[in-house]
Symmetry: C2
Subunit: 455 residues, 2 copies
């Protein structure tokens, strides 16, 4: 059951001058070959590409742990941010939909912000004795996650006692370095490891994604098998990941600085969020690999069909020619619903009767695709035959491969994020962290704000 | 309690050449004056601007209805899409946070898509006898909402009988025209009206937004008072709505085709979705008022702080100079949480102890703002002293005014959405709706897709 990429509507034959021509692709041939070679040569440096193959023991460990813990918990709270949150949210939504927490156990809450209102409201929901807190931070220095962890640890120890607290916390972190592994060892918490060389946004197929998935009854072996299946597909020169990257690269060069991901499926809604991190943080870079200032990157935009036909599609069809739209569609929904023939005499509604919601949804996608094509707007469609672990594994892995390949085409490092350091340093300085006195002084001598620009 | 716009970091003094200079604003003076005059002259054509003032009777009707119904329902299901959904979602999240449905009654589910999985999962949650379905469609011809309505009506009538069904449905629609008002009158459903001249994305302050808000215990009089308060502020030439529009207009002219809305508050998370519709659908236009092809529009992007510091901020600080970032911040959170001094000996964590989550969140906003400024990235901040009905009323109204004013600056019609017709027509054709035979023929003769572009 293979996912497919349909890129007809990216091509000039279909969308005219704002599309990509075969000539454009041919002209990029040298770069494409170089990028493909780099993907082979650097495979050893991309530890995330081994995850579909090298985790038998880890999967076993996770499944045993889950089987042991599950009978005594009714809620899993994941404390993590960025890649530690977005993959788990996306996968659980895909497999279980929007109402999982209203009908299934264990409930799962992924808390990826430090809003005090949210934290208070969360705590009010919980029976601490039946809640497992899963703390996820590779470095153990993520301020948001570690602040949450400190609050939770303190609360658990004061309410349940130190011994019992150990059973309510699990840590996913680096095996060697950082404060979280150190604390976990001191306190005796169960731990899972994030392999070295696997960065946050490429971590969905390691323990970061597998542990919460397993708790929710998701078949993580099938997920990994799907990823391996896509990895094999990507051994061909012509593969959907590379094509996705090449087309986006050419579109970006032609001024299309926006990449819209628009699933027509509530289940796939949060794949857009996961993709937004992957594409933005990997490709938004100031320097290329030769140290030149390049300021590249394509801004990901999250949309949802059919919903955003009533919000964004006006802009997509009639606004500037500045975007590529990628639809995600699902061929077969598990339980469909037939629209009754209630208003057969009403022209604007009668045609709906007897059709199903899935047909309406997929027809609207086709119609939107057509409307975009007609207005000369490049778009492509990734189709999942069904949403399941195998197709989701393919989708995660395909988009990771596409991102890495796009990084090679841009000749940038897709795996770092130097641009977030300045904000972190400024936060440390504002909190008077020792060692940040210079930054503090810099902030204090920065231009004071003018009252005339506050209204 | 007034919301404030701080635009220091939009200006060249603060962000250098990618900012806006006083000279840029001065050079636009003629257009600004013309736009301000147009806002006055066209006030009669902007019925949404009367909503803060002319709804005493409607508010009374809503409050009486809610008081009557509330004792016998535990769940409100809103069937609506676009403006009928985004405002209610944004406001309830702002006032009640992410966990409202886990602890309060009536639960509220806003169903703004036609995914059959979601619909099935929703129905599995409901006790139909204690659920009120609120159907919202001005035209009564919105395929998605009306398909939902047909399914729900059929289900209710078969399970509860026709008489009882009447008590479980309320319709918000045009007072005169369309299938929904016709059906509501025939069936005897309670109705509320969407004033003529109030379009979907400007409808949050009429019954569309007020009814669900009142059900959730939100003080709708204070909401409208907040909007009126902002309307008075907007009588000054120098007001935050016009400044917001002017700065975005100048940035757009300078190639910044992306407008990021980034609240640092979970409560304000879905204001970004509401804003995304308002800004995209109002300003994304092919023709100006003189019939010239202009293809204008700025693409709204939804982000959330601190969360997206770990997803989008790398791109925002180091990618292309193609965006304006607008932060939303909250000065005072209702219940704050103090981070305990757990790891005082650890340099990367010790500084957190003794601070509060609200302080951490707001400090991170300041730090991100500083990092962006340092990299020459224009940004502005709207600050709410607190989140409550009055400040939310101000915020909704301010952004509506800003959007209308931005439309005037672009010399386009901010209140239509002609670009969505093509997709609707194609949907009708694909469903063989009578009258769409020509469109069907057009679709059938469109270029067939090529297998070579499917992989």
């Amino acid at each position: 059951m293979q996912i497919k990429l349909d890129y007809n509507n990216m091509m000039t034959e279909f969308v005219g001058k704002h599309g990509i021509s075969q000539g454009d692709i041919d002209a990029l041939k040298g770069k494409i070959s170089a990028a493909a070679r780099a993907m082979e040569n650097k495979r050893n440096q991309m530890a995330w590409r081994d995850l579909p193959y090298n985790q038998d023991d880890i999967v076993q460990d996770i499944l045993l742990y889950v089987a042991e813990i599950l009978p005594r918990i009714d809620t899993l709270v994941v404390l993590g941010i960025g890649g530690s949150a977005l993959g788990p949210i996306a996968l659980n939504q895909a497999i279980h939909g929007s109402f999982y927490n209203f009908c299934k156990k264990p409930r799962i809450f992924v808390i990826d912000n430090i809003d005090p209102t949210t934290m208070n409201d969360l705590f009010a929901q919980l029976n601490l004795e039946t809640t497992l807190f899963s703390v996820v931070s590779k470095s153990g220095a993520t301020s948001e996650t570690m602040a949450q962890f400190m609050i939770v640890k303190d609360m658990l120890e004061s309410r349940l006692g130190k011994e019992r607290t150990k059973q309510q916390i699990v840590c996913t972190t680096d095996a060697q370095n950082g404060n979280l592994i150190k604390t976990a060892k001191t306190e005796g918490y169960k731990t899972f490891y994030i392999p070295s060389g696997v960065g946050g946004r490429f971590s969905q197929l390691c323990s970061v994604g597998l542990l919460p998935a397993a708790f929710c009854g998701i078949d993580i072996k099938k997920l990994l098998a799907g990823a391996a299946y896509m990895d094999k597909i990507c051994e061909n020169d012509q593969n959907p990941a590379y094509i996705f990257a090449i087309l986006h690269h050419l579109a970006l060069k032609a001024g299309k600085n926006i990449s819209v991901m628009m699933p027509y499926s509530d289940g796939l809604k949060f794949m857009s969020d996961w993709y937004a991190q992957l594409w933005a943080e990997s490709l938004g870079k100031k320097y290329d690999n030769n140290g030149n200032e390049v300021y590249v990157g394509q801004t990901p935009v999250k949309a949802l069909g059919a919903t955003d036909q009533h919000s964004q599609v006006q802009l997509y069809t009639q606004g500037p020619f500045d975007k590529v739209i990628c639809f995600l569609t699902v061929e077969e929904f598990e339980n469909d619903i037939t629209i009754p023939k209630t208003f057969e005499d009403m022209p604007t509604l009668g045609f709906l009767g007897g059709n199903t919601l899935a047909r309406l949804l997929n027809t609207q996608q086709k119609a939107t695709e057509y409307a975009l094509q007609k207005e000369g707007r490049p778009n492509m469609t990734i189709t999942l035959p069904k949403i399941n672990e195998h197709t989701m594994g393919q989708l995660f892995y395909m988009l990771e491969m596409a991102t890495a390949f796009a990084g090679e085409l841009l000749n940038i490092n897709a795996f770092d994020q130097p641009g977030v350091e300045e904000g972190k340093d400024a936060t440390y300085a504002l909190f008077n962290r020792p060692g940040y006195e210079d930054k503090k002084a810099e902030l204090e001598t920065a231009l004071p704000k003018s009252e005339k620009y506050i209204i």
